[in-house]
């Protein structure tokens, strides 16, 4: 399976990739994009099985990225990994079509719990 990691921070992309490996998802192909605009291109080019996206990014934010995907008919599985995890944001994410929202900081156990049922 292919997992696309979208975050404007190179350090955070590395941490997400590392945590995916620690959570037991290291056998999947990991792709990266640095904002929502690159994320849209990456989804069109690579057809990932799951997108893990930050919310707060320059150019195209995570929520704009998700809404653009759904507007063009792309139903790729999508989850947020973000520093803000209020109930309102979770609801906004859900309404836009996200399967989950993981708050930062997170642990490998969080990834196992959230992604285990998604990546089957």
């Amino acid at each position: 399976m292919k997992i696309l990691i979208v975050d404007d921070s190179k350090a955070m992309r590395m941490i997400v990739a590392r945590t995916l490996r620690q959570a037991g998802f290291g056998d999947h192909t990991l792709l990266e994009a640095c904002d929502g605009r690159q994320g849209l291109q990456a989804v069109a080019e690579h057809a990932p099985d799951l997108v893990l996206s930050d919310w707060n990014m320059p150019e195209v934010s995570g929520i704009e990225f998700l809404r653009a995907l759904r507007e063009r008919g792309d139903d790729v599985r999508f989850g947020f990994v973000t520093s803000e995890s209020t109930d309102a944001m979770r609801e906004t994410a859900r309404e836009a079509g996200a399967l989950f929202l993981i708050g930062k900081p997170f642990t490998a156990d969080t990834f196992t719990d959230m992604l285990g049922s998604v990546l089957v």
Partner: protein
């Protein structure tokens, strides 16, 4: 330094707990309250500052200030890199992301709806960062080898 703001949504305890959780989870490093607390000496030498702004129902900023040495050590932990191997951009990226995480978690305690900016990072010596019209809500001084970490919340 005494607080001058009247905001009760964020306290020094909140700021300390959030920073400690981020430092432990992502850096596997321990942050402790500085023994001198608010009387801790000011940062000297090469310094870095990360900042995020909150706008909306609540308006203000969250600052992370530390020595360049601590910023580099934190970045090396995030990147799992050997000492001295990271570029200045990578160190800035790491401090910006730490600021984003701590600022984002602090924002979750503030009145909604509001937005969080992308982080900005400054570096140099002997500089001061000010937000015009802002008053200090609270400030904590924490310590982690090799130096102190100052976290402040300002309300506009």
């Amino acid at each position: 330094m005494t607080t001058t703001g009247t905001d009760d949504f964020v306290t020094a305890e909140h700021m300390t707990e959030i920073a400690q959780e981020v430092w432990e989870s992502f850096l596997s490093l321990t942050l402790l309250p500085h023994p001198l607390g608010a009387e801790a000496p000011a940062l000297t030498g090469p310094t870095m500052t990360g900042c995020v702004h909150v706008s909306g129902e609540w308006q203000g900023s969250v600052f992370l200030e530390c020595t360049a040495e601590l910023a580099a050590a934190a970045a090396e932990a995030m990147f799992a890199a050997d000492p001295g191997t990271l570029s200045p951009d990578e160190v800035s990226d790491a401090l910006g992301e730490l600021t984003n995480m701590i600022g984002g978690n602090i924002k979750s305690l503030l009145p909604a709806p509001s937005r969080l900016s992308v982080p900005s990072v400054a570096q140099g010596e002997g500089y001061t960062v000010r937000i015009p019209g802002a008053s200090l809500v609270d400030r904590v001084v924490l310590v982690c080898a090799p130096g102190p970490l100052l976290i402040s919340v300002w309300k506009v």
